[in-house]
């Protein structure tokens, strides 16, 4: 990576730190990175080190940062994960139902039995193929 470009990458990563940290160490950290790059240290490893440092900086509780702020941030993150998971879960049966006719093409012939519970759940008839003692649904 060319030197000016490498320094720009590191400076971009330094913006991930909290403002308080940047005010305190920002200039020095950029200068240190430039010196290390000049010495031949790969810019990627410097950027990675700063990125990990920024993550630690945000996750470490500080006296100035209220515990409730950290708790709220974690709650919001957990909620967004929950909502995404819920959306994915609700989309999966719908996708399965719409792609069912195509899915039957790869099934091997076997003893076909309708499964009433599955039929109630997704609104389409479903078959289970029994092969060597295992139930495989198509």
């Amino acid at each position: 990576m060319a030197e000016p470009r490498a320094i720009r990458v590191v400076e971009t990563v330094l913006r991930c730190y909290p403002a308080r940290w940047r005010r305190r160490h920002g200039d020095e950290a950029a200068e240190l990175a430039a010196l290390l790059i000049k010495d031949g240290t790969p810019a990627g490893s410097i950027a990675w080190s700063y990125l990990a440092g920024a993550a630690r900086e945000w996750l470490t509780p500080r006296p100035g940062r209220r515990l409730s702020t950290v708790a709220c941030a974690l709650l919001v993150a957990a909620c967004s994960l929950g909502v995404s998971g819920g959306l994915l879960a609700s989309a999966a049966p719908a996708r399965a139902a719409t792609s069912q006719p195509r899915g039957l093409a790869h099934c091997q012939p076997g003893s076909l039995e309708p499964v009433p519970d599955v039929t109630r759940a997704i609104g389409h008839p479903q078959v289970i193929i029994r092969e060597a003692g295992h139930d495989r649904s198509c």
């Binding site: 990175a33 990675w48 080190s49």
Partner: protein
Amino acid sequence: MAVGKRDGKAGQDVLRRIGEASVLILISLADEPRHGYALIQDIKDLADVELGPGTLYGALDRLERLGLIESLPAEDRRHPYRITAPGAAALRAHLDSLERVSAAGRLRLQLGGI
């Protein structure tokens, strides 16, 4: 020879839980104040450890919060750091503790005939 929490000395060793990087920084600052780049170079020479800059600043912040080091007025854009009296005491206690563990290890190797 019992080494550990039972003899009560481990409780005085505040550096036990703050990681190797912090100990190396304190050792590097033990003889004279240094700024970030000089610290990285010195630690590379004395311990053959390449400290990442992110790790360095994390450790410097932690040590400063604990009052074990202090930053001196900036020279150009660089802040030199200096070890404080509590920092020197903590480092001495930690090195004593390491020496006890090291001696016990050597003794056990000798007793085991390995």
